[in-house]
């Protein structure tokens, strides 16, 4: 009987391990409950916050007047059910039971010893118990309790529902994290305050508790007075009447002021210390929303210029810099900065290199560092575009090997530009004007969109000259799969047929180019609505 049970248990565990449906569902709930990067978690969190607030509101209103029956019903059944389901789901996803069974089974097979059911159960129970006894789980459990209306005292636990909100709000968690970093100072201060309160309350009780002060009847009254005074709140419902009592209050008022300012300074300094960290989290949150991110690694001369230009052209970018003074500079320039080392794989992994990053720009002044960043990025992602700056010619080869797509050699560029200028000054100026876009003439690229009037048309079909454009070249697609594989056709003859995915490189004034782009864009919309 027992053996049969074990057999079914193990078979079932293996079935679960290999069932994609089960894994998917579990992964979904895990992400929904615990994974901050999961896009739908946000909505779940908002939903839970709404549920909590509504249930707290119902309970508060219920104190003095009766709420509508259906609200009561909602609070009693729906909210509680949601809480219970959430609690059970969390319990379910916190660990994998079938894995424990499989592990034990494989171990017993390997060592040829009998399968121990009790060991498996103990193991599973231990894992689940560890979750149940964790603070958030306890709060969750207590938050379910107020639904039991027969015991009015249980309603106090409604506060735990408010605590539960901590789970769904990052900033609240952050606040407590910050306070936690100053644990020792806060403990010291609290002990000190407790000590002074105790002394003061005993003293006032001794001096005035014997009937001198009609308001002090017990040690509790004395302690209440001491705390109200020491925190500089001073309600005034109890006031010392004797000289001794007044002396005591004078002393504790002074200590109180000291303690309160100490407390304030602790909290302020904690925030100050954590400020860079808070900023980093904020930057990460912002950046994580973006796609096609450009990483500018290094905020030196080139990094600064590149960042400025990319920002101007509306690209999303993130500066990665490890030097604090340069980080500050980038922040002042209004950029998103991550204070990290781009040569570490952790930094790039955190940014989801493959999914969100369009290009990595290695712009540090050190060639070796640029090589490291290139290797780091390329080893993590095959398709990301890497642009590396390098000064030394011998490093250039290594950078190519490491996987850089484009090499930028400032000294080389100076030579090339110089050569072009000496040979063809007029052409040089024209090119400079087009490139820097200071004058309104510029070169731009227009992609042939699927279904636009250019798709399937011949070059000669469109009168570029009449539209005040010059068609310099067409980048024809080589294969349909890869985006990068284009070949260039200069001054294309009129009978070349354009296909979707080809890129036209046109020269003209900004207005003409914008107009042309608009025409292409517009024709796409038209065709799709027709078909």
């Amino acid at each position: 009987m027992k053996n049969l049970f074990i057999k079914y248990l193990v078979t079932f565990s293996y079935y679960l391990e290999s069932a994609p449906g089960y894994q998917r569902v579990k992964k979904f709930f895990y992400d929904l409950l615990n994974n901050d990067d999961y896009p739908y978690k946000k909505y779940f969190d908002l939903f839970m916050i709404f549920i909590i607030l509504s249930s707290v509101a119902i309970l508060v209103v219920d104190v003095r007047e009766r709420v509508a029956w259906w609200l009561d019903y909602y609070d009693l059944y729906i909210v509680t059910t949601i809480f219970i389901i959430e609690y059970l789901l969390r319990l379910w996803v916190c660990s994998d039971m079938h894995k424990v069974i499989i592990a034990e089974f494989e171990e017993s097979e390997f060592f040829e010893k009998p399968f121990s059911l009790s060991k498996v159960f103990k193991e599973i129970a231990a894992q689940k118990w560890q979750y149940i006894t964790s603070l958030p789980a306890i709060i969750d459990l207590i938050a379910i309790l107020p639904s039991y209306r027969e015991l009015r005292i249980l309603r106090v636990f409604v506060l735990f529902r408010a605590f539960k909100m901590l789970r769904y709000s990052k900033s609240l968690i952050q606040f407590f994290e910050i306070l936690k970093s100053k644990r020792i100072e806060l403990y010291t201060l609290l002990t000190l305050l407790a000590f002074f309160t105790l002394i003061a309350s005993v003293m006032i009780y001794v001096f005035e508790g014997n009937g001198t002060n009609p308001n002090i009847h017990s040690l509790f009254d004395a302690a209440y007075w001491a705390l109200v005074t020491i925190t500089t709140v001073g309600y005034g419902d109890i006031a010392p009447v004797s000289t001794e009592g007044r002396t005591v209050s004078m002393l504790i008022i002074l200590t109180g002021i000291g303690a309160i300012s100490f407390l304030t300074s602790i909290i302020v300094s904690a925030f100050n210390e954590k400020l860079p960290e808070i900023k980093q989290t904020r930057v990460m949150n912002l950046v994580m929303k973006k796609r096609d991110l450009n990483l500018v690694c290094g905020y030196g001369k080139i990094g600064q210029l590149v960042a400025k230009k990319l920002k101007e052209s509306g690209e999303s970018l993130l500066v990665i810099e490890s030097d604090p003074s340069k980080v500050e500079m980038a922040e002042l320039d209004g950029l998103d900065v991550l204070r990290a080392d781009a040569t570490k794989s952790g930094t790039l992994l955190k940014l989801k290199l493959c999914d969100r990053v369009k290009s990595v720009i290695c712009a540090t002044h050190d060639d070796i560092v640029n090589v490291f960043i290139t290797i780091n990025a390329r080893s993590l992602c095959k398709k990301v575009q890497i642009i590396a700056r390098c000064s030394d010619k011998s490093v250039a080869k290594k950078l190519r090997l490491a996987g850089a797509d484009h090499l930028i050699m400032p000294e080389e560029i100076a030579g090339l530009l110089g050569a072009v200028y000496i040979g063809q000054p007029v052409a040089f100026d024209a090119l400079q004007a087009i490139l820097t876009q200071k004058k309104s003439a510029r070169i731009d690229e227009v992609e042939v969109r699927l279904g636009s009037f250019l798709d399937g048309a011949k070059v000669g079909d469109f009168d570029f000259a009449a539209n005040r454009l010059i068609l310099l070249a067409v980048l024809k697609k080589l294969s349909s799969k890869e985006k990068s594989s284009h070949y260039v056709v200069f001054n294309p003859p009129d009978d070349i047929t354009l296909k979707a995915g080809d890129i036209l490189v046109v020269m003209g004034y900004s207005v003409s180019i914008a107009d042309f782009k608009g025409k292409v864009e517009h024709s796409v919309r038209y065709k799709t609505t027709v078909s």
Binding site: K301, Q304, L305, V306, K308, K309, L310, S313, E315, S359, I361, A363, I387, R389, S391, K393, H406, I408, M409, P410, E411, E412, I413, A414, G415, L416, L417, G418, A419, Y421, I422, G423, Q424, P425, V426, A427, A430, L431, A433, L435, T436, A441, I443, D444, E445, R468, L469, I470, L472, A473, L475, H486, V488, F490, N491, D494, V505, M507, G508, Y509
Partner: protein, 236 residues
Amino acid sequence: MFDTKRQSREIILFGYGKLGERIYGTLSTTFSKITVVDTNEEHVETAKKDGCARVELVDFKDDTELESLNLEEKILFCAMDEMSMNIFLVLSFKSSVENTTIISVSTSAENTRKLKFIGADKVIDIYESSANRIADIITRPAVTRVLDEIVYVDNGISIEEIEIPPNSFLEGKHVHEIDFKKYGLILIGISDKELGEDFIFVSRGIDHKFDAGDILVLLGESEALRRFYQKLMEAA
């Protein structure tokens, strides 16, 4: 290369340090008459070792030594590693010689401003140019690729400027009358001496009338360019 006048001009490269060495490397592929000048003996030695034909050791602070280089009518390329030296050099050229083209390298917007103020004809900010290039690769990859093929890659496609000789077949014609596509060329713009040195992009839509002395900026295959140039000269 059709403007042989410029081609044959002599270049004097000042500085053979980190920067100068690389610049010499790229310049020497297109130009033959390059003189390297430096104050540092070590640099002069490396220049000789690298095979520079003409190398001079000159103290830049001594004006008579500079003048002995015969700077007139030459292209002066300042590529010292220290920017202050470049500024100083441009200043001494401006004060002593005329009829030269002064090109200087710069490493910051600050220096570029100073060099231009002193009177350098062209200032190349190496970092600015690099940054421009990086930004272009990201924002306009196709454009960058096409320009690269034109300017840097040796594949027969180039951008050339051709001065219209007197009495050529273009004389008195308007832009719309000439079908440059027939010649396999693209006319990008014209620099008209009469209208000042301003460069007119064809795409602006002004129907310009060709005159002798106008400089055409044409894009096309070297062969097509050469044929067009010959035709232009024949008619003249």
